[in-house]
């Protein structure tokens, strides 16, 4: 999960520094927190370095009718400079100009923009325009950028965008790249029920291509949402649960999956999982059990109480004894 976040941070930095950087491979060993600090300080440097000149451009825009300012923005300034001056314009002027710019151009501006520096402008853009730009960004696969806007857009606006964005895979990736997890919990609270199952379906498509993102995201949510996602996943048909088990095992995601299973409080879910695990090979069960840390696992404790075939009984019993011994130390 942190590898994906690291890759996202590298991409944000590469975009900020421009296409001439030819990759920032020399930064690949730098930890995530440092990369983020570097990006924030680099952003501040670029925004502040030419602030006087950028402010003059913003001031000049006030002298012009909005239609001409919008024409200049699109034909002469380009997305990068528009992003730099967005937060320097008088808010009403900026909003008026933004209303006149086509969604594909605004999407390009979003790629260059630090949204925190233009929140007042973004808040004033009409909903229809926000939706159009969001769908354009989603069409381009720009989920890292969209994640940044999740952190500052009004909740009602976000929900309206989510309503139009039917691609659950896109929704999952955008949520993964949103940095404000507290905010994300509040938005998920308003998500229509069918979208939860849709997100799990999308994560499992193409051999679980997005399963690591899904687990990484769910693990960081409140226990209430971990429980909800866990119960939806584990009360599906046996083939679906077997698919989840197989993908999680193949991608070595037990350390991420088990804490989600531990949040599940539904006896049916426990029995559904048990029914599928009973049919697995001992080697898979051993890998699953090895992923449990010293704090143990509520789910595995419940599973250990159930009946297991002879081939797996010893494995489950040994693991239960080890957990009990660790708990007593």
């Amino acid at each position: 999960m942190s590898t994906l976040q690291h890759r996202a941070e590298m991409q944000r930095l590469a975009r900020l520094l421009g296409p001439h950087t030819a990759g920032l491979t020399y930064l690949e060993a730098v930890d995530l927190a440092t990369l983020k600090q570097l990006r924030e300080r680099s952003t501040a440097m670029l925004y502040d370095a030419d602030r006087e000149a950028l402010q003059r451009i913003a001031n000049a825009a006030r002298l012009l009718p909005s239609a001409i300012a919008a024409l200049i923005a699109e034909k002469a300034l380009g997305p990068l400079l528009c992003a730099r001056i967005a937060g320097l314009l008088v808010v009403d002027t900026a909003i008026d100009i933004a209303k006149r710019l086509p969604p594909p151009f605004l999407a390009q501006v979003c790629l260059e923009l630090d949204p925190r520096r233009a929140k007042a402008v973004i808040d004033g853009v009409p909903l229809a325009r926000v939706i159009a730009v969001s769908l354009e960004l989603a069409r381009r696969g720009e989920f890292i950028t969209m994640g940044r806007f999740v952190d500052i857009l009004d909740t009602e606006v976000l929900l309206a965008v989510i309503d139009k964005l039917r691609d659950n895979g896109a929704l999952l990736q955008i949520a993964f790249f949103a940095e404000d997890r507290v905010r994300l919990n509040r938005i998920i609270e308003r998500l229509p029920a069918p979208r939860f199952g849709g997100i799990i379906d999308a994560a499992l498509e193409n051999d679980g291509e997005l399963w690591p993102e899904a687990l990484g995201l769910i693990t960081e949510l409140n226990v209430r949402w971990r429980r909800r996602f866990g119960e939806i996943a584990l009360t599906r048909d046996a083939d679906s649960i077997a698919h989840i088990i197989a993908i999680s095992d193949a991608q070595q995601l037990w350390p991420a999956l088990l804490p989600i299973a531990d949040a599940v409080d539904n006896e049916q879910a426990v029995h559904c999982l048990h029914a599928v695990l009973r049919k697995q090979k001992p080697a898979l069960l051993k890998r699953m059990l090895a992923a449990v840390d010293v704090h143990g696992s509520r789910m595995l404790d419940k599973l250990a109480e159930l009946d297991w075939p002879a081939t797996l009984r010893a494995t489950m019993a040994a693991a239960a004894n080890t957990r009990q011994a660790s708990a007593l130390r």
């Binding site: 930064l27 060993a29 002298l63 001409i68 380009g78």
Partner: protein, 103 residues
């Protein structure tokens, strides 16, 4: 201008380094020290501590990337300012040029 020190910032010689004439930290290789000082100058604030693990060549590359981004932004501004005027109605050009600081 030296900003307030933050947790994890690279500190030269036990205190925040100024842009010029910073004390040499005996624990850091002199070449790396120079590159970190230059990076601090380009960034305009303290270098994140985690970057001190980079080798001097990588720090120099990073510095170069930041300087290049800044130059590219300046060049884009200069070009955009000139071409913008072509779209400005003639009667407003004088006022706009004045605000932009162009003669």
């Amino acid at each position: 201008m030296v900003t307030d020190q933050r947790v994890g910032d690279v500190v030269f010689g036990g205190r925040k380094a100024a842009f010029f004439g910073a004390d040499h930290d005996a624990g850091i290789d002199p070449m790396k020290n120079r590159e970190l000082q230059e990076l601090e100058r380009v960034l305009g604030e303290a270098v994140p501590a985690g970057l001190s693990a980079l080798d001097p060549a990588s720090i120099k590359k990073l510095c170069g990337a930041l300087q290049h981004a800044r130059k590219a932004q300046r060049a884009q501004m200069a070009a955009a300012t000139e071409s913008s005027l072509q779209h400005v109605p003639f009667l407003l050009r004088g006022a706009v040029k004045k605000v932009l600081g162009i003669k």
